[in-house]
Amino acid sequence: MAAVMPVPAASRVLMSGNEAVARAVWEAGVKVAAAYPGTPSTEMLEVISGYPDLYAEWSVNEKVSLEVAIGCAYTGSRAFCCMKHVGMNVASDALMTLTLTGVVGGLVIAIADDVGLSSSQNEQDSRYWGRFAHVPVLEPADSQEAYAMTLYGYELSERFQVPVILRMTTRINHVKSLVTVGERGEHVGAGFRKEPARFVMVPGNAGKRIPLMFKRDGELRALAETCELNFIENGADRRVGFIASGPAYMHVKESFPNAPVLKLGFSSPVPFGKCRELAALVDQVVVVEEVEPLVETELKAQGLKVIGKEILPVQGELSPNVLRPAIARLLGEPVPETTRLAPLQVFPRPPTMCVACPHLGVYYTLSQVRNLNISGDIGCYTLGAGHPWNALDTCVSMGASMGVALGMDKGRGEADKDKRVVAVIGDSTFLHMGMQGLLDMVYNKGNVTVLLLDNRAVGMTGGQDNPGNGRDIHGEEAPRVDFAKLVSALGVKDERIHTVNPYELPVLFRTIRDEVKVPDVSVIITDQPCVLIKDYHKLKPFEVIDDKCTGCGNCIDVGCPAIHVTRRGKEVKASGREVDLAFVRIETSVCTGCGLCVQPCAPKAIVHHVPTSPIRLMTKGGCAA
């Protein structure tokens, strides 16, 4: 990933939007870059951390990352901060006042909207923040624009002393296309100048900044009218003209190469004059934007007759596939058909936990304990809601497992009086926003058993380091938080804190079963590393002795993807009940010997594999058998 670094100026290279932004951040002479990982934004900071001459950090959450960037920008140095769309919700408290103080050194905030929810709990349109916080929004349509707009963002930010939002979507962050890169320029900040009337936002000071913010809005709107990021491309087919931004622009150009288009790169404040100019050229105007009708609504309020979400979806990604039929219907033309086969029905392939994942032991155990209401959180372990465990009942936002659990406890009615409330949260999520919830739970005398799954990584986004594993963004040693001490300091009684190896199922089962009965806050910390990080060590693989397997299927309930069914059967029990049998094998080439499946195997049919030929290991990047 960091391989983009040695690329000399003027080279044309294949880069993702994330890599392109990272390059521009480095070229802009940024001094501080901070972020919390989140798909599809993660690679921006990962790549930035590979560049020299700047400070990069994984912050504990997005709000802290923005505050770190703000501090840097106050000193006159350039700063960068990035996050996924939901991260901006967390950081927004800082943003809403930052807009009043403004910045000294340039500050670009890249927000990555997961349009189409490839890996998120919701879909949001981050362009709203531009309107809400009165800051300009730039919207790239490919990697080259992401690069160029980041550089422009720093100029804009310093000229108006305003933070700038670079609004990206998955189709910008993760799409690779060609970028021509440039030279790095030095940027020297003047140093922090004490100016309480500007930087100390108490009512008396803040109130005086609000008129300045509105004045700036007007200046930015005037600039958007002349800025070359907003341009009209004329065309011969003037039945429909389009106003488009971001990836939607590419889909418009692909679908209607002869139509006039107003491309909005500097999309907020909206240049109404430019929009009117386009409208004068064409019979009707269609606004094409992902995902909410923001530009459309503002244009309608201006009295412009435009069409938008009446004919286009308000959810998910746009594509030529969506645009062509919509416009054909608008024009009363036959809907263009592509000759294509009907999709064939194939089983779903949802994401799974990894072979030997330490979470497998936790969810297998939770699936065996009755009468639990389990509030979950965000990370790999959200997969516990799926088969075969079905052992996670809620997922809302980062850290929500704590507050939701307390609310389930306090709000329980007659129907839930015998239910035990359990909260499941990962190490990084706990440090991000779970700690406060636990403190609240302890302070308010809740009755919840918390499972803190410490796998020493931000697993879902690729195993980034965090304060829980004692390594910084460069993999260098850093102070490591002690979870047992931390929860003790938050007020959990020491006898209610247990650290358990999640591969030892009987101990884990006993601990959970005992703790859910105690009417108090308990914290059970599991302490084995994510199998995808270097802290994990593989053990000797297991195999199934075919003759001994009785087909009971207990091992399948663990949910490890290394276990495969070889044949199925039926058995009639003495009671007359018919049960399904599933005989299994273990894919020894991927088994790493965690031993979880061995424990529920009644006939002891699972034993260490004795290799008859050299083991063929399937590793990351390999083509699996």
Binding site: R349, M353, C623
Partner: protein, 203 residues
Amino acid sequence: MSDNTNILVVGIGGQGVMTATEILAEAAIALGHDAKKTEVAGMAQRGGVVSSHLRFGKRVLSPQITPGTADVLLGFESAEAMRWQHMLKAGGITLMNTARLVPPVVELGLFDYPADPLAEIRKGGNKVVAFDATTIAQDLGDIRLGNTVMLGAIADHLPFGAETLLDCVLRRFQRKGEKLVELNRRAFEAGRKAVGAAEAAAA
């Protein structure tokens, strides 16, 4: 409409689908094409479905391939090759690994793995070439070579010669020593040969 070449590479998380597509993109760029590569991967690191889109030509606008317009479908896994058939244009070709990767939902008995994905694909009427890339890689001594076998398999179905693609593959291994370069060269050629042989047999 565009004159782009559309290549769809599909498989599951961890198989190297995205890397393979990136190498294909590098080859297209080396020959002076504009190119865009995009994935619908999501949480694919955890064994989910991955479909990687590559479009190249004089100028590429939308990164996504529209259903019914893929020229070539390169399938790293049988059921996945089947899943994406509707993406092919009429007259498009499927090049697929016969390997079957059975997910936990099938092991749990909740869904069935198709009995004969190849036969299902053939019903669509487009050309399909199937070969066992996994065994080819294993016979060469390392299952990780499967990725290169797959790239070899597509080498003669591109609007440019195999040499550029091979160069791009080998460049990835240059720093890792001559032995690995040689192994990958053999894997690439084995993939080419497997497809060539399967086509000759079908003709």
